[in-house]
C-alpha cells in the first residue's frame, strides 16, 4: 500500500493520501490534481458528476487510487 492508508479496504495496491490542489471541469470529465507529501502531485481524470458526489474542492483531503496493472515502468 503506497503512502498513508485510509480506513477503506480496496484491492488497488496504490493508495496515496493528499489534498486536492486543482480541479478543471469539462462537459463530461474533470481533471483533479492531488498534492502528496514530499512535493509530489498526482493528476486524475474522473467524470464530472463524481467531483460533485465526492464533494471535491481545493483543499479537500482525498486519496488517489491506482491499480497496479495500470502502472507502467520506464528507465532512462
Amino acid at each position: 500500500m503506497g503512502g498513508v492508508e485510509g480506513t477503506m479496504k480496496i484491492s488497488a495496491r496504490n493508495v496515496f493520501k493528499g489534498k486536492v490542489k486543482k480541479i478543471t471541469a469539462g462537459a463530461v470529465n474533470s481533471e483533479v490534481t492531488i498534492e502528496l507529501p514530499g512535493g509530489l502531485e498526482i493528476t486524475s481524470i474522473i467524470t464530472r458528476p463524481s467531483v460533485g458526489r465526492l464533494g471535491l474542492k481545493k483543499g479537500t483531503t482525498a486519496y488517489a487510487v491506482v491499480k497496479a496493472s495500470s502502472v507502467l515502468i520506464a528507465v532512462d
Copy 2:
C-alpha cells in the same frame, strides 16, 4: 507531471522517479515495487519479459508512469 521528470516525453501526466525495491516474478506477469522519495511506494504489474528487457533489479533507478485516466479518487 508528478515528481522528478525524466528526459523522455510521454503523454502520461504522472511520472514518478524512484528505485526498484522488490520484484516478484510469475509465469506471465511480474510485480515490481518502486520506492519514491518521502517514503511512498508504488507497485506495478508488468509482463515478465519487460522486467528483463528493462534490466530491472533491486536498486535500479526507474520511473512509474500512470495515465491520468487510470487514477481513481476516494474520500473518507
Copy 3:
C-alpha cells in the same frame, strides 16, 4: 452508482455489491468472481497479496468497482 452503494465514497461510477463466488490464485495475480443480484457475475483480476489483505474467500461480501473509462460498449 450501479446497484447497491457502500459507505465508502470513490470516484468510480460503477460499484456493484455481491458475494465472492470463486477465487483462482496464480503466482502474481488472482482471479476473483463476484456473484451479483439477479444472477449476474463479474470477474476481476487483482494481485494475489490483495486477496489476502482484503480477507477474500468464498462467500465474502464484496464490491466490484469499475471506472467508467474502463467500460466499452458493443452492439450486435
Copy 4:
C-alpha cells in the same frame, strides 16, 4: 461471462446486456449509462464518435464490456 452473452466472442470476461438509459455528450467523450436486468446500471465513457458509429440512443440494446483486469474489489 457476466449476464446474457451475445453472439460476438471477445476476451473480456464481463459482458452485460442491457438498454441505453442516458447519453451525455462532450466535445471529445460521451457518457453512456446502460440499464441492466435487476435494476443495476453501468456507466461508460466512450469517445463521442463511437456513440454515432454504434447508433446509440435511449433504448438501444447494448452490451457493457469490462476486462477483468479493470475491475477493482473493495470490502467494508
Copy 5:
C-alpha cells in the same frame, strides 16, 4: 477504426485484424501476440480461460481491440 474492421461493432476506436503468432500461458493470465499486416505485432494479456473460450491458437485470425483512453503517446 484502425486497420480492417470486423462485423462486430464495439466502441473501441482501435481494432486491428491479424493472426495469433504466440501464446504463453500462466496460471491466471496468458500472453497472446498477434501479427498485424506490415510486420507489426501487438501483445495482449488476457485471462487463461479466455484463450480457451475464444479457441485461440497459433494461426487463428483474431482482432486486437484497444480503447482510445488506454493509448499513451510519446515523442523522442
Copy 6:
C-alpha cells in the same frame, strides 16, 4: 515490442511509431490519431495539456504506447 522501437525504454509491450494525423481538442481531453505504416491508424485520448507539452501537431512523429493488459482480443 510492436513495430519500430524508439530510444526510450518503457515496460509497455506495444510501441508503434507513426505521424500525428488529426487532433480534436476538448476542455479536458483531446483525441489524437496517429497514422502507422501499412495504412493502420491508432486513436488515443490524452489530456489536453499533454498535447501542448509534447508539442503534438499534424505531422509530428510520435509513438503510440499500449500496455499489454489494455489489449482485448476478439474473434468472429
